[in-house]
């Protein structure tokens, strides 16, 4: 079977070139056809989305958009819906994650975009979300109105299923005509979502397009980069830098670089009752999406002095990862990924020769943990269920250990008593951490999350102010003026 990716209003499938890519995993295979647009098609698509956004989307009430998204998400949450079934069937083949990981992950994630949560997104960024629909009075006097860009380009990365929905939905909420560039590693969900939106509200469906091109190579790329008013991009820093260099200076660029996540566990969380449960949650964060997410933990800092020592806690986590390996088998790895693991593990093994380092798991296991008995700086692991656990004297040491890598920091999973949670959050925030989550929830950010410490919606809009004095001056020209 061939699944056509993308959503291309105004273009007919027959006139496009399609690049077929085969994926296989779990003994099944699928062929995905990715659209390859030429310059003229790209230009036509940009014009179509822009003019529809201008003529239709900009005039819609936010409530209508919220309703359409809510309805589309409801269908994707319905396990009997054909698209949901297709997603559950195809995403494991394309991304390699096991069926249960995909199923559970989809449900948990999609729940972030139902109506109440969408209202949360709006409320997080706008004191009065009605500014998206019309001028609203402001406290200082005068009136304020927010406009999303006419053409917002999303450049997605990563194989975490459905990750693209986050920015796509944010774009819709601010009434941006949206064009999304699919990631080769997960080229499906965004197109399916767009087709559902089209089914529910055809006018809205004309205001978004989902495309694909090979980064840096395609004829269509310059067109999209030139036409977009705002570009939201997810990629490694090198790719982002190259992308930024290609954009006109007047284009707003919102980059999200790759990140490294870590956990912090306080001694009060380490007794024989709490530690095993925590270990399970930590293992869950590690195994879910194979540490491919920016929020996935690669290292755990564990405080000494609890009833359960860091070394014992490492054993708990090892046991949980072992158990998870059965329930949620690791996806098949490319040679490069396998090499990353082996190189990381080899380096840990060499270090272990000098003592103070303990390695858990056999090389042939689908997970590895190393426990280092002396505090050390944050560093990435080999990914795909490789974790480093580091003993620290005190939680207060942790900010300094992660501080050198400020530009890579984002999510910290923390298990600590309230007072210490806030003290730690102060320290971590000061060195660049932007999200504190409990263990077990690191890979599932809340609705309205300020991704990388930025505004999901507010960063996308421009504000138009009618100054108080302008309103007063206008009075002078009214037909009813005395």
């Amino acid at each position: 079977m061939i699944e056509h990716a993308g959503h291309l209003p105004g273009l007919s499938r027959e006139t496009l070139r399609w690049r077929k890519v085969s994926h296989s995993a779990w003994g099944e295979s699928a062929t995905i056809a990715l659209p390859e647009l030429d310059e003229a098609q790209a230009a036509a698509l940009c014009a179509h989305v822009r003019s529809n956004a201008r003529a239709r989307l900009k005039r819609m009430d936010t409530a209508r958009i919220v309703a359409a998204i809510d309805a589309a998400i409801a269908r994707l949450l319905d396990r009997a819906h054909p698209l949901r079934r297709k997603a559950e069937y195809l995403l494991p083949i394309v991304t390699g994650y096991d069926r249960e990981t995909v199923r559970l992950g989809l449900t948990g994630y999609l729940k972030t975009f139902r109506r109440p949560q969408l209202l949360r997104f709006l409320a997080e960024d706008f004191a009065n979300p009605a500014v998206l629909d019309g001028f609203q009075p402001t406290p200082k006097g005068g009136y304020l109105r927010a406009h999303g860009p006419e053409l917002l380009l999303h450049v997605w990365a990563g194989n975490v299923p459905a990750l693209s929905l986050w920015s796509l939905i944010c774009g819709l909420l601010v009434k941006a005509g949206s064009i999304g560039k699919l990631a080769s590693a997960e080229p499906l969900t965004a197109g399916w979502f767009a087709s559902l939106i089209t089914e529910i509200d055809p006018e809205l469906g004309e205001c978004l397009a989902i495309v694909w091109w090979k980064g840096g190579e395609a004829a269509a790329e310059p067109v999209f980069l030139r036409e977009a008013n705002t570009v939201m991009a997810y990629a490694g820093n090198d790719t982002l830098e190259a992308l930024r260099a290609k954009l006109p200076i007047t284009t707003r660029f919102l980059p999200h670089g790759h990140k490294i996540g870590f956990g912090v566990i306080a001694r009060e969380a380490l007794d024989s009752r709490k530690a095993p449960a925590l270990a399970r949650l930590a293992a869950h964060d590690v195994a879910r999406y194979e540490q491919q997410g920016c929020y996935s933990p690669q290292m755990l800092f564990v405080e000494r002095g609890g009833r359960v020592s860091p070394a014992e806690f490492a054993r708990y986590v090892a046991r949980e990862l072992g158990a998870l390996a059965h329930r949620h088998p690791r996806r098949a790895l490319s040679q490069g990924e396998a090499t990353s693991i082996v190189a990381w593990r080899g380096a840990q093994e060499i270090r272990a020769l000098d003592g103070g380092t303990e390695l858990f798991g056999e090389p042939s296991d689908t997970w590895s943990i190393v426990h280092v008995d002396a505090a050390e700086d944050l560093s990435p692991t080999g990914l795909n269920r490789t974790l480093k656990l580091v003993s620290v004297e005190s939680l207060d040491d942790v900010p300094a250990l992660v501080a050198p890598h400020r530009s890579f920091l984002q999510t910290a999973g923390v298990a600590a008593a309230p007072e210490r949670l806030f003290r730690l959050a102060e320290g971590l925030g000061a060195v660049g951490v932007t999200r504190i989550a409990p263990l077990g929830r690191m890979t599932a950010p809340e609705a309205g999350w300020h991704h990388d410490g930025r505004f999901s919606l507010l960063d996308l809009v421009t504000l138009t102010e009618v100054e108080q004095s302008a309103e007063a001056a206008a009075e002078g020209f009214a037909p009813y003026v005395d």
Partner: protein
């Protein structure tokens, strides 16, 4: 065995015309026992893997250390400060260089020469050489500089020359020398790092100059491009050499060596790429699945492990970072298996290190 005994045994082993699997195995186990007893970090590594001279019965079970270990550990069976020579890797990750300690260069040099005569000289006693790599006085810690120095001394004619100095490639001397070699009718050999050939080919192409070196001329390149020149694909590279110097691709030989070994591996020319590489009878190569460490069958791609008995003072069994597959007569090399940047939005080690280096 004492150091003197192991050296003597190895020199005798290298002197054999060939070695059977059983003979290689017997020698490999002796070398392993020697390294296990005298190289403390390697002993700990082997114990961690549950391997000792008592439990290891096959050469394939001798634990191979990851090549990065040469950066982190002092792997030497004799006091490192007493080494006659220390070879260091050029590649630096965070400023740390891998080191191989040699209490004597007797075994290294014997291994190099016997193998070089067989694979490169092909029965010829001497050939006039042009060397495109700095010499040993300039790079005393470079195993390649030592290799090329030895090649020139033992197998080069007296008018052989080095054409790279502190100022870089000396075109003013090299081009007339090549022209003279072309006119002389005597075979000529150009040897050097792969990346040294690139600016030379570029300069010749820019001036429209081509050489047609006499029949029997040879080219030896090694080491790849290492960011020192632009990267060329193998076909582009060997086509370029053949065009620039008139040396057919079948006479362009690639040497595959590393600081962490004492022997080299060669192909028999690069008429077709990737060529098949093989070593002398005192080195054996395996291809393994990096995750399980298991040997892969012929034709399946994995990571290369070398067991080089001549590297007796350090560790003979090393796990490289090179991808390859076993084929009849040797193995095919596919270059470095790079740790892949993650497919997701996590930071992977490579990106992190790049950022740390600034």
């Amino acid at each position: 065995m004492t150091q003197a005994e192991i050296i003597e045994a190895l020199l005798a082993f290298i002197a054999l015309p060939d070695a059977s699997e059983a003979e290689f195995e017997a020698m490999a186990l002796k070398v392993f026992a020697y390294q296990f007893r005298n190289n403390e970090p390697y002993k700990r590594f082997a114990l961690q893997r549950g391997r000792t001279p008592l439990s290891v019965r096959r050469w394939r079970d001798i634990p191979a250390v990851p090549i990065t270990a040469f950066k982190d550990l002092t792997l030497s069976c004799s006091p490192p400060e007493a080494a006659e020579r220390v070879f260091m890797t050029s590649g630096t990750t965070q400023g740390i260089r891998g080191r191989s300690y040699h209490p004597t260069l007797a075994v290294w040099s014997r291994s190099m020469l016997v193998n070089f005569r067989k694979r490169f000289m092909r029965g010829r006693e001497r050939i006039r050489m042009g060397i495109l790599f700095p010499d040993e006085t300039e790079l005393p810690n470079s195993s390649l500089a030592h290799y090329l120095g030895l090649a020139r001394r033992e197998c080069g004619t007296p008018d052989s020359e080095v054409f790279i100095g502190t100022a870089g490639l000396d075109f003013d001397r090299l081009l007339p020398t090549l022209a003279q070699a072309e006119a002389s009718g005597e075979p000529y050999a150009l040897l050097g790092a792969s990346y040294s050939f690139v600016p030379l080919m570029d300069a010749l192409a820019a001036s429209g100059r081509r050489f047609s070196l006499p029949e029997g001329s040879l080219i030896l390149d090694t080491g790849g491009f290492k960011g020192q020149s632009r990267e060329l694909g193998p076909d582009e590279f060997y086509d370029g050499l053949a065009a620039a110097f008139g040396v057919p691709r079948s006479s362009c030989i690639n040497m595959y060596g590393m600081t962490e070994l004492s022997s080299q591996l060669y192909d028999d020319g690069n008429a077709a790429c990737p060529s098949v590489k093989s070593g002398p009878h005192w080195i054996r190569s395996r291809v393994i699945d990096p995750l399980t460490g298991a040997d892969l069958p012929e034709g399946q791609r994995g990571v290369i492990v070398h067991h080089d008995l001549a590297h007796f003072n350090c560790v003979s069994a090393i796990l490289t970072e090179d991808a390859g597959e076993i084929v009849p007569g040797g193995f095919k090399l596919f270059g470095r298996v790079d740790g892949e940047a993650s497919k997701g939005c996590s930071v992977a080690v490579a990106e992190f290190l790049a950022a740390a280096r600034g």
